[in-house]
Amino acid sequence: MPMSAVKRTAARGVFLIGTLPAGSRPCYHVGAVDNSSSQTLLGRTLATCYCTCNLLPPRVYSSAGHLARRLAAPAAPGPVAGPLPFATPARILVHPMTCPYVVTQTAAADHALARSIDDCLVVPAGCDAMRRLGDALAARYPDRVFALFVPRTDDSAAVRSLSHDLARLEEWLAAKAPPVKADEQSSTDAEATFTYPTPPSPGGAFIVAGPLSDDGLLRYIAGLGLPISGVESCSGPERRAALECDAPEADYEAQARQILERVSCPRSSATARREYLAHRLEETGAAAVIYARLPFCDPSAYDTFSVADLASGRGLPYLEVEVGYPFEVTGPLRVRIEAFLESLLLGAELSELDELDDLDDLEVTT
């Protein structure tokens, strides 16, 4: 690799390889990552099993003597100062055309794995970038990273494929730590989900997104006067319930089926996902749809097709915006959302005017 093609960025522990495409923003904001290390439970030290996303229920990671934790969502980016927090900084190479979620997870995982040799990482490889994250970390930390492929559909071959991998994962985790009795198991914080800042109400915006770091987008939109009718995000409020898995522990096939039947991820089967989103739009009574897409995310890019089409079919105004991870209200985003909301407001006012029989009915206020 010639040095000219490698550039150090302001990221903590992250290099970008190659050249940044014109017009795109480098995604290297990695804030302080607060991943707790091993914890003690009933006098026994539990190693931590980190996971990178909400594709699998936490019990999958925690059932074999590990404390399951999501890699913490980093704080909003700020100036980078002081010593780098990583044990061996700047070791992971990430191409600039990588989604910011994967970039932050790479840095966070590197940090977590470098800190304690007992801890491990499970990577549900829902997309190519996440799968390659698993590869890079597995090469760096041999036998401490387990990547498993998660299919997009729930047909029998897909269910069999995932159930084999769930069994392999259980075996791998059990070999790393002795199983914990059910009554000794600690609660986990493996679902990194946020909640609605205010109760959802009909007639507002329905937000579709991949992973969002927090409820910042919801609060921003609500702050501009448009209520939130619902959110569909893999880190959104409804995801926690979708991660519940009541299939028997040893029945991997039942677990796999249950996991794959839930389509609250943009990478899911197009037809099933479309039906699911149509149902959610109906039940929430949304008046507008906003798709908040992470850059360099293929599943979301194709998901926008369905969502735009669903919105158009229902006559709902639709806006697609690109957001970062962690989320921050940037200038361009502010302009686009405010313009969209203004157009909604204007549209509503004009339709009120249309409803008037006579312009004389219009009360002029000054």
Binding site: A147, R152, A270, T271
Partner: protein, 409 residues
């Protein structure tokens, strides 16, 4: 531009003219590449005829499954590369600009989708995916299937182990899926399977390719890997057909491979380069620069694929094994290991990775490949680019990188 779709007089004439031009070019060249390009074009244009059964398939979908039913695959990536290198390019580009799809996605897929919307490609009758390699292609095929209301089936292929052959149970599992897809396709298309004939044709073609690969590895023949890469794409269309068998067998004669062989005087080109991932299809600037410095891209990554003969009574296990053990599938560590093997067995001086725009699979494996090659002291260059760029389109930076790399070598 003339319309290629439909049964109008103009469309029929345009298709016939394209075939005549291609046939003349193949006849004049007399090479395997031209012969196969012509065969692929003639077959593909049948997809544009009214009432044709059009399977949109993954670039790794076993072509024999379709050939046995007399079906011709429409591979979106091949279609995109072909159309962007044709007089239809402007229309494709205009369609891409109109497409409501993020520009950071793979250009092969955006161009194929845009071409479909612009009426430059026939609508699918079925979409068939394979989990290798990329998710973007699966999302695209599924989206197209959903929009056109046609079935989408995807073959779930487990990752191969980092070292060693695919486990027998994985091969059996994938073979079962392939059998099922084959049976479903027969029902959907209403065609009668002729697998015995297809297997015979496919084995003739792969045997010819295997022999050429042996000649390349032994150093007896030095092939321009840029041209060899073309066979990967074309093979996905013609493998399992009579024309495919004849075309590949032409590679065994000197005349048949004359347009892809590099001069071997003075020990052949230096530096000898290994090319990873896809190639720029229309912009030959990088290859011209390498040639002008006396070097040559002599090996492509996919040369590593082992093609054993198909069993005429049950070809599915071997087709399954090929899918699982494909050199680009599996972990980045496996890919890096295979690349290092190629470097050692082919006396490679340097490795180039062409990171295609929007390819998460390619870009994502760079850290591991970079570390493995650096650790082994093998010079490595990763170039960002767009495989569908037109000649000279913004390649200054890539040319600069390549020039420095060649100077260093």
């Amino acid at each position: 531009m003339p319309d290629l779709l439909g049964d109008t007089l103009a469309a029929t004439a345009a298709r016939r003219a394209a075939v005549a031009r291609s046939r003349l070019s193949a006849f004049q060249a007399g090479t395997a590449r031209r012969y196969l390009e012509n065969a692929a074009l003639v077959a593909s244009l049948r997809l544009f005829e009214p009432g044709a059964f059009v399977p949109w398939v993954s670039y790794l979908f076993p072509p024999e499954i379709l050939a046995s039913l007399g079906l011709i695959p429409l591979i979106p990536e091949v279609a995109a590369a072909t159309l962007t290198g044709s007089p239809f390019r402007n229309q494709v580009e205009a369609g891409v600009n109109r497409l409501h799809l993020s520009r950071d996605t793979c250009t092969y897929h955006r161009a194929a989708l845009a071409s479909l919307r612009e009426g430059l490609l026939p609508a699918p009758s079925v979409c068939l995916g394979t989990t290798p390699f990329c998710l973007g292609k699966e999302c695209m095929l599924d989206t197209v299937a959903s929009q056109y209301g046609v079935p989408f089936e995807s073959v779930q292929v487990p990752w191969p182990p980092d070292d060693g052959p695919a486990p027998a149970e994985h091969v059996a599992e994938v073979a079962d899926q392939l059998r099922e897809v084959h049976a479903n396709l027969a029902t959907l298309s209403g065609k009668r399977p002729r697998m015995d004939r297809t297997v015979a044709y496919s084995n003739r073609a792969t045997e010819a390719w295997r022999q050429l690969t042996q000649l390349r590895i032994s150093g007896e023949v030095i092939v321009n890997a840029r041209q060899a890469f073309t066979f990967l794409f074309i093979g996905q269309i013609v493998l399992g057909t009579g024309a495919g068998a004849k075309g590949f067998e032409r590679l065994l004669s000197e005349r048949g491979r004359k347009d892809m062989v590099l001069p071997s005087d003075n020990g052949g080109p230096h530096p000898r380069l290994l090319w990873l991932h896809t190639v720029p299809h229309h912009d030959h600037g990088l290859f011209d620069l390498i040639a002008s410095r006396g070097g040559g891209v002599v090996v492509e990554e996919t040369i590593n694929q082992e093609l054993l003969p198909l069993d005429p009574t049950d070809p599915f296990p071997e087709l399954a094994r090929r899918l699982i053990e494909h050199p680009l599938w599996g972990s980045a560590s496996r890919r890096a290991r295979l690349v290092l093997e190629l470097v050692r067995s082919n006396r490679i001086d340097g490795v180039i990775h062409f990171t295609h725009w929007g390819c998460r699979h390619g870009a994502g494996s760079l850290p591991v490949i970079h570390a493995a090659l650096s650790g082994a002291g093998v010079p490595f260059l990763a170039i960002d680019g767009d495989a569908l760029d037109q000649p000279g389109a913004g390649n200054g930076q890539a040319l600069g990188q390549m020039e420095s790399f060649l100077e260093m070598l």
